[in-house]
């Protein structure tokens, strides 16, 4: 693949980076990234990946844009109210960069469709905020051996980790089972500072690009925790659990479980 003059201009700041260069930019252009959730996290992740020229961006979201989303979900606008979030974000990302093919998937993830949806992509990004979906995504990524860049936010705090099946721990190494419904409040109940998903989403997008170009150290085996009020970034080590029911030596989970709870887009 040769760059057009327009692409040389668009990606010039990438190409002159020694860690990226023309080779890295080509890898970015050929990569396929699936983002689950076109909400608070999915919007900035998709925005930056589109700007970076990721060849194919899949967006899974079945929700429609509401006014209460616009405090943080920066790919949507008053003009796209009531539109499917996946379509709204697709419009925004393709307006930013026509090189990018955005695939709007207006479906709810479940144990029936997830493997088919994930198999066509190189990297998966978790931008959901409910535990059943988070675990389902983790399990599917372990089964398919797909790298997963996971993010979570609530109030003034956010977390990021990169899961590389076969190399590092998975989400179930940290907590084997999701917490019971109602124990952990959702953003709807507890609120979230609008800019917080921007910070966490930008970190997730950075992790994705590092994986694509194969440079730097992925945030594997570690949970990065950002506390906006105290302005602290902390890294907590996540050991790989040999007895993990998903990725341990003798995994007890052999198939994907059914989701019973409502899917909540952040």
């Amino acid at each position: 693949m040769e760059f057009t003059e327009e692409q040389l201009r668009r990606y010039s700041r990438h190409i002159i980076l020694p860690e990226v260069g023309g080779k890295g930019q080509k890898k970015i252009s050929q990569s396929k990234v699936l983002i689950v959730g076109a909400g608070g996290l999915g919007c900035p992740v998709g925005y930056y990946l589109a700007a970076a020229g990721v060849g194919t961006i899949g967006l899974v979201d079945n929700d429609r844009v509401e006014l209460s989303n616009l405090q943080r979900q920066i790919a949507h606008s008053v003009k796209t109210l009531d539109m499917h979030k996946a379509d709204s974000a697709k419009q925004t990302f393709e307006a930013l960069n026509p090189d990018v093919n955005v695939v709007a998937i207006k479906e709810r993830l479940n144990n029936k469709n997830i493997l088919d949806l994930f198999k066509n992509y190189d990297i998966i990004v978790d931008g959901t905020d409910n535990f059943p979906t988070r675990y389902l995504i983790n399990d599917a990524c372990v089964m398919l051996k797909k790298p997963l860049v996971s993010g979570a936010i609530l109030r003034f705090e956010g977390q990021v980790t990169t899961i590389i099946p076969g190399e590092g721990p998975c989400y179930r190494c940290l907590f084997e089972e999701p917490p019971p419904a109602g124990l952990v409040p959702s953003c709807q109940e507890a609120g979230v500072l609008g800019v917080l998903p921007g910070v966490i989403g930008a970190l997730q997008a950075t992790e994705v690009l590092k994986l694509i170009i194969g440079k730097g150290k992925p945030l594997k085996g570690q949970l990065l925790i950002y506390d906006a009020l105290g302005v602290n970034f902390r890294k907590v080590k996540i050991p790989k659990n040999e007895d993990c029911p998903m990725c341990g030596k003798e995994p007890s989970i052999k198939e994907l479980s059914d989701l019973s709870e409502e899917y909540c887009s952040i």
Partner: protein, 82 residues
């Protein structure tokens, strides 16, 4: 001094910063370690910035020469993989 074998010639006359660097970087990526690229340019700042950038990338700058009133050639030997 004997003439070095030039493996690739790159004409970036008419280009301005940062595209002088973008094109030069891609030119270096297209040759092998140990090979030499000769860059012909006419953007005065680039006669200074391209050699500096190439040194920063870890390559050797063999020659920077003003060949007439408005044009320079820069010879770079690729020293490290991209």
């Amino acid at each position: 001094m004997e003439d070095l074998k030039i493996n690739k010639k790159l004409d970036i006359r008419g280009q301005v910063c940062p595209y002088t660097l973008v094109k030069s970087k891609l030119g270096v990526e297209s040759i092998e370690v140990g090979q030499i690229i000769e860059i012909l340019l006419d953007y005065p700042e680039a006669a200074d910035s391209i050699p500096k950038a190439m040194l920063n990338y870890g390559h050797s700058v063999l020659k920077v020469e003003k060949i007439n009133l408005t044009e320079w050639i820069v010879q770079v030997r690729k020293e490290v993989e991209d």
